[in-house]
């Protein structure tokens, strides 16, 4: 039988990078910026955190202060992803470059950036295996609530995660609330739907686009950080992050641009993502590969269903992917 108690925590741990990536991308898309650079941003976020914590661990020789061990990678990660966000905005908002091309280029760049510095750090450590292990930092990141172990399966399912996992859920809820209920959210959505209208209403389009994309990138970058520091127990190896960034973008469509739905949808995706490990398939690798398809198949089905329902609210923001230029006609 299926071991739910061990499956669910793994699915949830798997879901956190997706949730963060998805929340960040949703925020950016709601303001009309289709940021396909998110996979790259998550890579950069991860490697920035790794670099920060590597330097810190090297300098204090294993004797880490938990607070500083968290703050340094966290700040490094936020700064790294912020810079990526600024780059994207500068190219697409200020220079009005094509968003798709820019985003794809940034993904390629981000992955290369991560692998380059990852490779360099591996060289520096001179280790046998092609990976860096930051176990001391990881220990701080993945520290679960102290009472989790005493509560049996409830503790395991609900309380066994590092703080970033809870942060991810809170960020998603806050983002959903901001977008739906506040003045700022109304203005961001207006820009994504109809920038000319927002402009006429006196909203500073450039400011809000920069704001949404950069905050979105920083949120997504945290997803990369969570992956290395918590999920992968502080072990960085090149390309290990895989296609989670793309999955996060698929998740945005799956959740019809709603971060609160994303909390559960990401868990579903996380579950589907690792389902192949839990389904007894024997040695048949082909069947395993079929299981790995599931998240994407589900996304396509959702696309078909929302496309057929044709409800306006469930459609992408109307000017998604289009540059805005006031004097255009």
């Amino acid at each position: 039988m299926f071991d739910l108690v061990s499956f669910i925590p793994r699915a949830i741990a798997q879901s956190i990078p997706l949730l963060l990536g998805c929340t960040g991308e949703t925020l950016s898309e709601k303001a009309g910026s289709l940021n396909l650079g998110i996979p790259g941003v998550m890579y950069v976020g991860a490697i920035s955190g790794v670099i920060g914590s590597f330097i810190y661990e090297q300098s204090c020789g294993g004797n880490v202060n938990p607070f500083i061990a968290i703050m340094i990678p966290l700040l490094a990660c936020l700064i790294g992803s912020l810079l990526m966000g600024l780059l994207f905005c500068f190219l697409t908002v200020t220079l009005r470059a094509n968003q798709n091309v820019t985003g794809l280029a940034m993904t390629t760049f981000g992955v290369g950036f991560g692998n380059f510095f990852g490779g360099s750090l591996i060289k520096l450590t001179g280790s046998e295996v092609p990976s860096i292990s930051l176990s001391a930092t990881s220990h701080c990141f993945s520290k679960a609530l102290p009472f989790a172990n005493d509560m049996g399966w409830i503790g395991k399912i609900f309380f066994s995660y590092g703080f970033l996992a809870y942060a991810a859920i809170i960020i998603a809820i806050v983002t959903a609330y901001v977008l739906k209920r506040t003045r700022v959210g109304l203005q961001i959505r207006a820009i994504g739907e109809n920038p000319a209208t927002a402009d006429a209403a006196g909203i500073n389009i450039t400011k809000y686009k920069y704001f949404s994309v950069c905050i979105g990138c920083m949120i997504a970058g945290l997803g990369g950080l969570y992956y290395v520091m918590d999920y992968a127990s502080g072990v960085w190896s090149n390309d290990a992050f895989g296609d989670r960034g793309w999955l996060a973008i698929a998740l945005v469509i799956f959740t019809i641009w709603r971060p609160n739905i994303a909390i559960f949808a990401s868990m579903l995706f996380g579950g589907l993502y690792i389902l192949y490990l839990y389904v007894p398939t024997g040695g048949n690798m082909a069947v395993k590969e079929l299981y790995k398809m599931l998240p994407y198949v589900v996304t396509i089905i959702v696309l078909i269903v929302t496309g057929m329902r044709n409800k306006k609210e469930n459609q992408p923001p109307e000017s998604l992917g289009l540059p805005y230029f006031r004097e255009d006609r």
Partner: protein, 509 residues
């Protein structure tokens, strides 16, 4: 406030775009409790002038005074601060937002976003002036006139007491226009200053107290509406005598050219667009099609041109010798080869038929590129055609190598209609040919259409302006929600009965 001091004085206003002088030496006085019409042809600088008042443009010269005080208006926000609100021709609304969300958008009110409070305030404004707005209705569910109402309420919500309406009636039915005029009068009695930009003379006469006339950016004069008449205003507007009658020659030898029986069309998402439509078009006559926008006109024309899949019904093309051929299921190219020509001018004027980034010659080629004999296209004929259209229709352009999107709206339309007519069709399907055109250009187009009629072409003319339909068309077919509400004689029908037929089947109250 003192009623004797104008709410707005504009003195010696000048605005230049590149080398084009859009406004020069304009003086305007707008008083509270008055409706001022701003009259002028397309490109005469009406909208530019008002955009300077509403902060979208900044004047290059001259001075604006509000309540006698000199002011600088640098942005729409500053205009709002002075109580100036403008309702643009193209609505600035977010489709997936509710009316209330649209109305509060961009406002910097204190505290949390409270849509309930906003809704209460909206309802209060509505009951004061007689608007009808549901604050929680989504904009995409609204009719054009409802959207316009939201725009007006939006401006009032911001506390504007100087309102500028840019061609508000262009998209409304006569009944809706009547309703709009009623609330405009209510606002006037409430002491608001109102400017209405228009080029429809009868509206000027009906609604306004004063009329200011612009011509080619120059201020021509300000008159009291009661003391003037249509002919005088037109002459001031155009600068020379213009005959205000549209000719309507008697149809010569009208024989049915296209006969449509039981035409039913569904849109791709299953909505019934045309329901059992039957009628015929004769050669040598103009059949007008009236109806509120979006009630099947586009689908009807596209079905005839073969662009729209048909659920049931027949479309017969009748040759000169009386032989009939069913057009249903034929390729659009084959239908076009029979001489059925479609010119549709959509709201954005560029959506169908012309490619904005291509120049005039290339756009002419869109019709003829299949004709060349070799693998190379023939560019000479289209270039000549482009030159001919530019010359005959007085298209103002820097040259035939200018991308069409750089032309002004009216000129784009002339290019489109000119090209369609040049293909010497036997059936001319024309929709909104004069959409947004000024009097002079409109009359050029009416003349062109009349000339086609005299040449024995069967013309289907979809129009917005009922007055024009009544003057131009031999018969008028009225559509209501995709059904034929009635076919009336253009010489005998009156505007009100057609207006009723547009909103209710058969026109019964």
């Amino acid at each position: 406030m003192n009623k004797d001091i104008p709410a707005v004085q504009m003195r010696d206003i000048r605005k230049v775009f590149g080398k084009v002088v859009a406004n020069d030496g304009v003086n305007l006085d707008i008083y509270r409790g008055e409706i001022l019409s701003l009259l002028g042809e397309n490109g005469s600088g009406k909208t530019t002038l008002m955009n300077m008042l509403s902060g979208i443009y900044y004047p290059d010269g001259g001075q604006i005074y509000i309540d006698g005080e000199p002011v600088l208006i640098k942005s729409p926000k500053e205009a709002f601060d002075h109580g100036i609100g403008m309702i643009h021709q193209h609505f600035k609304l977010v489709d997936v937002f509710t009316a209330a969300e649209n109305i509060v958008l961009g406002l910097k009110e204190e505290g949390k976003l409270d849509l309930k409070k906003a809704a209460a305030k909206i309802n209060q404004i509505c009951s004061t002036y007689g608007f009808d707005v549901d604050p929680n209705q989504k904009v995409y569910n609204m009719s054009v006139s409802q959207k316009q109402t939201v725009e007006i309420v939006k401006v009032l919500y911001r506390g504007a007491d100087i309102l500028i309406l840019d061609e508000p009636t262009a998209v409304l039915t006569p009944q809706e226009t009547e309703k709009l005029f009623k609330v405009m009068r209510n606002m006037k009695y409430d002491g608001k200053a109102i400017v209405i930009i228009t080029h429809k003379l009868h509206e000027v006469e009906e609604i306004s107290d004063k009329v200011a006339i612009l011509r080619k950016g120059q201020f021509i004069g300000q008159l009291i509406t009661k003391e003037t008449n249509a002919q005088e205003m037109t002459n001031m507007m155009v600068g020379h005598e213009v005959a205000l009658n549209i000719e309507r020659p008697e149809p010569v030898d009208p024989r049915p050219r296209v006969r449509i029986e039981g035409l039913t069309v569904r849109s791709s998402d299953g909505v019934l667009k045309l329901d059992d439509v039957s009628f015929y078009v004769c050669q040598g006559e103009i059949l007008g099609i009236a109806g509120i926008s979006g009630c099947g006109q586009k689908e009807l024309l596209e079905a005839i041109a073969g662009l729209q899949p048909i659920e049931s019904g027949t479309i017969e093309y009748i040759e000169d010798d009386g032989s009939k051929e069913n057009l249903v299921g034929k390729d659009p190219l084959e239908i076009a080869a029979k001489g059925v020509s479609l010119s549709f001018v959509p709201e954005d004027r560029l959506g169908m038929g012309l490619v904005g980034s291509m120049d005039l010659t290339d756009n002419m080629m869109l019709r003829s590129f299949r004709k060349g004999r070799s693998v190379f296209t023939d560019r000479k004929t289209p270039r000549k055609l482009a030159e001919k259209v530019v010359e005959e229709l007085e298209v103002s352009t820097a040259g035939i190598n200018t991308p069409v999107s750089k032309l002004s709206g009216g000129n784009v339309q002339k290019v489109l209609v000119g090209r369609e007519i040049a293909s010497s069709p036997t059936v001319l399907l024309s929709a909104y040919a004069v959409r947004g055109l000024d009097i002079n250009s409109s009359y050029t187009i009416y003349d062109l259409i009349n000339k086609q009629k005299e040449n024995g072409v069967a013309v289907v003319y979809v129009g917005e302006d009922l007055d024009v339909l009544l003057e131009l068309c031999d018969r008028i077919l009225v559509l209501c929600d995709g059904q034929v509400s009635g076919i009336v004689d253009g010489r005998e029908a009156d505007k009100n009965s057609i207006g009723m037929m547009m909103t209710r089947l058969g026109g019964d109250a």
